[in-house]
Symmetry: C2
Subunit: 410 residues, 2 copies
């Protein structure tokens, strides 16, 4: 199974310490190294000054094989990181004429003359190496000493990711000679504790498989990993029937992607009638490229007048049961389906919060309705009274009800 490599991460920048920017690079790097046999065991964030960067390098723990640095490596002159690293690794900067020519041509292609101030981007170390930057002009740096290899990359996420994917991850993969098989199953509509109870017996049969349960407001992600491919395959095969109903996709798949794929396959169209979600379901459906082939559109029916005029909800229904009711939800779903000539209508009506509840209808109460030519149903939920989270959970419920109907017909 080879050798797993210990990685130390140093993120550089005052904006990370003073909170002007949230460090999203660290989590991305932490995840991305696992499949190729790396493991971030230590992470330090420091200011971009000489003593802070040197101190981070001096204080690396034992048994670090690779140091990844991000930040402080941009196109501006005042980035101190390269200077510190050149000194720390006893390297001298050399002018890289070939790369300067490439930069000059890039500028020329845009009809511009390259400023002399860009010459620092064409420097390279006499020992060590540069990391190509496929999406920017500032290249990364690669140094090594007796203890570890160091890769320094810009803090701009797109540039860092590009260097990781093209240079650093393949390098780690080759060095580690160790593979970890990782997949993320995304689930919705089931609680973490119930998932755990159901999967635990299977997990006990597969000691080489690990699961991390990652709960979110919209569901639980399962990060399943193993060093042994056949254990992994066997576990996934046994687990699949147990979570099938809740497992809507893998890795970065969103629920709207899953719903969109099924709508495309089945050739069905959908329309939305949103009250408490305010347009969020439509927003999510249209995050998917190509959604115009199955999403007809929707009505955001925030006022009762709109519910009646556009969606044909009966005044007697609103008077007798209220806007937040099973009866209104079903008339909204039916109304929008007919009005926009779709195969399927989906509706939400609820009290998103934080105010507006009564004893009978508490804040957080949400109805989701679904209507087709031969099937109608309403679901009742009580979600959190935190407004934005309530909307998110309601949209998730509506999309999942849609998914399950399309898959199972009920």
């Amino acid at each position: 199974m080879g050798h797993e490599l210990n990685i130390g991460l140093i993120t550089i920048g005052a904006e990370l310490l003073n909170g002007a920017r949230t460090d999203t690079n660290a989590a991305w790097i932490g995840q991305s190294v696992i499949p190729v046999g790396g493991n971030v065991v230590w992470h330090m964030t420091v200011n971009d000054d000489k003593s802070s960067i040197e101190s981070a390098l001096d204080n690396l723990p034992q048994h670090i094989d690779i140091v990844l640095c991000t930040g402080g490596l941009g196109p501006t002159h005042d980035d101190i990181t390269p200077t510190v690293l050149y000194q720390y690794f006893n390297a001298e900067p050399e002018f890289d004429e070939a790369y300067w020519q490439i930069l000059t041509k890039k500028f020329a292609a845009r009809g511009r003359v390259i400023p002399e101030s860009n010459r620092n981007q064409a420097m390279k170390p006499n020992v060590g190496d540069v990391i190509p930057n496929p999406v920017g002009s500032a290249r990364g740096l690669h140094f090594s000493n007796d203890d570890y290899e160091l890769f320094a990359m810009p803090g701009v996420p797109a540039e860092m990711k590009s260097m990781m994917n093209n240079t650093v991850l393949p390098w780690i993969d080759e060095q580690s000679n160790h593979e970890t098989f990782v997949t993320t199953w995304r689930t919705t509509g089931i609680m973490e504790s119930v998932l755990f109870e159901r999967l635990d017996p299977i997990l006990n049969n597969h000691p080489h498989v690990d699961i991390a349960f990652l709960p979110k407001f919209t569901g639980v992600d399962l990060r399943i990993s193993s060093d042994d491919q056949s254990s992994m395959t066997a576990f996934l095969a046994e687990a699949e029937p147990i979570v099938k109903k809740y497992h809507f996709g893998d890795e970065d798949t969103e629920l709207e992607d899953a719903v969109g794929s099924i709508l495309l396959e089945t050739g069905k169209t959908i329309a939305t009638a949103e009250s408490c979600t305010g347009g969020l379901i439509g927003d999510r459906l249209t995050n998917v490229s190509g959604s115009s082939s199955y999403f007809k559109g929707g009505v955001v029916a925030y006022s009762n007048a709109v519910k009646m005029n556009a969606l044909n909800v009966k005044k007697t229904t609103l008077d007798a049961h209220g806007a937040v009711s099973e009866e209104t939800a079903i008339e909204m779903a039916r109304g929008v389906r007919k009005y926009l000539d779709a195969d399927m209508g989906v509706s939400t009506t609820g009290i998103a919060g934080p105010t507006g509840g009564t004893d009978e209808k508490p804040v957080g109460l949400v109805y989701v309705g679904i209507s087709t030519a031969d099937y109608e149903k309403v679901y009742r939920f009580t979600f959190t009274p935190h407004r934005k989270t309530n909307k998110l959970m309601s949209s998730q419920a509506a999309l999942n009800i849609t998914r399950l109907y399309l898959l199972n017909g009920a």
Copy 2:
């Protein structure tokens, strides 16, 4: 001006290192300590094991006055952090009978008997102190030695923030006897470089004032800070007229909050006709509690049929100019205003991407229309062809056009 305190931050948890969770606590803490005279100068993330936590404490840089720890301090038995901290600060756990009674009553109030396993939550150190937890049951820990004071808090953001706001920040404030005045001005519709050019001359007149420019896809936030209140006041007074048009709110205010406030003040109502944004403008408007008093609702007009049937866009308009055109945008805004009986209609139609462009109408092209009884206008933008970002930028433009019309009447 007192003494600014240097803060070291230790975030504990394997889930932060392996990327299962993005560390959002660090940025929140980095920001929150500045106004009370603190400054995060060092941040380390470690696994929740004894040697990693001890090593972080052993490797603190010189001149650290306060150490803040988050994570590894929950209601479960296997959290190692308290054990390590008790040992590190030579403290012994004592059973806190008074707190145990409080916990027992909390459970009783929910009709439950407190499990014996919760007794560990009622332990407190014989030296040092506990930090009350207003929103959970696991209390924080406060220790000190000759060099620094240490505050350990749970990693759950709501619990950490509550402890910071109620105990730690007031404590820092008192110790530091130093205030930094900080305000964030949120702007939209102007580029960072232009903002910089306009503000730089004023900034040069106020050497005690600093600005951090924080660009986002939807605008640029200005974090303005000073140790001197009169410099700050003078700077803000001079800067305000220059950024007035773009400055929609302060601190955490969203553009939809600003638009909502103006709609409430003016008593106007609004309706949306969304094509490329798919419901996002409605979603954002309804993120604001109380929006039902000014937001009538909207039509998500993804198909041409809906544009014609619900919004009364003329077939001849669609045939002659296309769905993505100035003419369609204006008919959509007018149509939804009339259909939903609102004072104001706002529309979007565009090519959000990543595909669907032509030479004449490139991917990213977006029209935003606005219609009232006596005013109509269309704005043309070319935003990024990245779909979700394009939608976000389009919704921001539509809300900002609404804001400027409501403020200036054009």
